[in-house]
């Protein structure tokens, strides 16, 4: 079993970890780095519970090897809140009851945060399309969509939305 050194930035912190080539990125994040906010759901690239940002884009961390993160910038759900202040998406899930069991929530919030950074005013259809790779078995998605719309309104009500949605870079 040959181990490799892998260097990347996660939630703004430079890390150097040892990883076997076959280790999935999600296992590196959870087990090596102890960041257990990123969940392992289906392990078959379907459910999206393991969604993180890779250089700002939402991807499924169960479908990448840790060694592929070399030189990349990663963000996990732990990187969304800044200084204990929830980002607008997190606040939206809180205010609109966007979760029940909470298992899909980290992935949902990573996808939603990326969506609102690239699309200013997504329609409900665009929101539903954006989260179509994140499965929720509790809510029926209604309150998740409301939570994302809450975040969108909150960002637009603030003079400098870029400053508000700083998590997830």
């Amino acid at each position: 079993m040959s181990m490799r050194t892998v260097n990347f930035t996660i939630n703004g912190e430079a890390k150097s970890v040892q990883a076997e080539s076959r280790q999935l990125l999600v296992h590196c994040i959870r087990e090596t780095l102890g960041l257990t906010g990123t969940h392992v759901g289906c392990e078959t690239s379907h459910c999206g519970a393991c969604t993180i940002h890779l250089d700002g884009e939402p991807v499924k961390s169960c479908t990448m090897f840790a060694v592929q993160a070399e030189g990349k910038s990663l963000t996990t759900v732990e990187g969304l809140a800044i200084g204990g202040t929830l980002n607008p998406v997190q606040e939206g899930f809180w205010e609109e009851h966007g979760l029940q069991c909470g298992f899909c929530t980290p992935g949902m919030m990573m996808t939603a945060t990326a969506l609102l950074r690239t699309v200013n005013e997504p329609t409900e259809t665009e929101i539903r399309e954006a989260i179509s790779g994140n499965l929720c078995r509790c809510t029926g998605y209604v309150n998740i969509v409301k939570a994302i719309q809450y975040a969108q309104r909150k960002m637009h009500a603030t003079p400098a939305p870029e400053a508000v949605l700083q998590g997830g870079d």
Binding site: R22, S45, P58, T111
Partner: protein, 292 residues
């Protein structure tokens, strides 16, 4: 769901990639987006000894028109195809194809080259590239080799790539006047493979007679295949409702679906008939200058 052990190397050039492939032969596998390979490795359906990660090779992500062709770099992500206004407005069939592959998160990683090189008859690009009459560019020890898409899928889950070749580019002929295409996929849910899907690309003359037609089928044949008798039934004729119905029946007849959890063979074959009819109709509308 842990893959078997393997040796991992990041290649930084095509020459390095080809050298590694030549050295390791069929033990080696190329990792591009990894959206088919990694799930297969987790299920141990694939157990490559040696992985060549081509994400380190620069210059393979582009979408541009040149020499009367649309040229797409093999490492172009599906999400980039979806976002390209050139693709959306100039090649709506390709936009429709990229848009229905897996889900948005997967499309941020998945590449068009990987989708084709995997040679899975359930993948979406093969049917569309068959309809578009694309050419595959393979890079090997002796440089580039052009492979017509009709020769690219020789047998089950096999491509025409040699073990020491890497797919670098897809070339699609620029649309001729009064041509149009469409890809229509029917799936149980987002992220699933097609129960069936049909790609159509056709050209009309000034009198609305069809002068060229190509039809590709997804997930209803052992290898990605065209519905050639359906194509032949359209060419030389005005595309009437009756002509569409006849061609659709021929396409269904040419399909060879298997019964599985997505439906019975009979159901899928009839689905091919329905989807072919819709796709021909939409392609005709586009050829006549309609946007739909």
């Amino acid at each position: 769901m842990i893959p078997a052990s393997f040796e991992y190397v990041v290649a930084h050039s095509l020459e390095e990639t080809v050298g590694l492939l030549a050295k390791h032969g069929s033990d080696a596998k190329i990792l591009s987006g990894g959206m088919s390979l990694i799930p297969a490795m987790k299920l141990r359906l694939a157990q490559p000894v040696f992985i060549v990660d081509v994400n380190g090779v620069s210059g393979l992500e582009y979408i541009r028109e040149e020499h009367g062709e649309l040229r797409i770099g093999a490492m172009t992500r599906e999400a980039a195809l979806e976002r390209s206004s050139l693709v959306k407005h100039g090649y709506p069939i390709l936009f429709e194809t990229a848009k229905v592959i897996a889900d948005p998160l997967v499309r941020n990683r998945a590449t068009i080259g990987g989708n084709l090189a995997h040679a899975d008859p359930a993948n979406d690009h093969p049917a569309t590239m068959l309809a578009l009459g694309a050419t595959i560019v393979a890079h090997g020890p002796n440089g580039d080799r052009l492979i017509p898409i009709d020769e690219f899928f020789p047998s089950f889950f096999a491509s025409a790539l040699e073990p020491d070749e890497v797919l670098t580019e897809i070339r699609i002929p620029a649309p001729s006047v009064r041509s149009g295409g469409a890809y229509i996929k029917f799936e149980r849910k987002v992220g699933d493979y097609a129960i069936a899907a049909v790609a159509v690309n056709l050209t009309l003359d000034d009198h609305d007679t069809c002068i060229a037609a190509r039809i590709g089928l997804t997930n209803v044949t052992d290898v990605p295949a065209r519905a050639t008798s359906a194509e032949a039934s359209l060419v030389g004729h005005r595309i009437t409702e009756q002509a569409i119905a006849d061609a659709s029946r021929l396409a269904a007849h040419e399909s060879d679906p298997k019964s599985d959890l997505r439906g019975s063979a009979e159901y899928k074959r009839d689905l091919v008939r329905v989807l072919a009819g819709r796709a021909i109709g939409r392609a005709v509308s586009r050829a006549r200058g309609g946007s739909h």
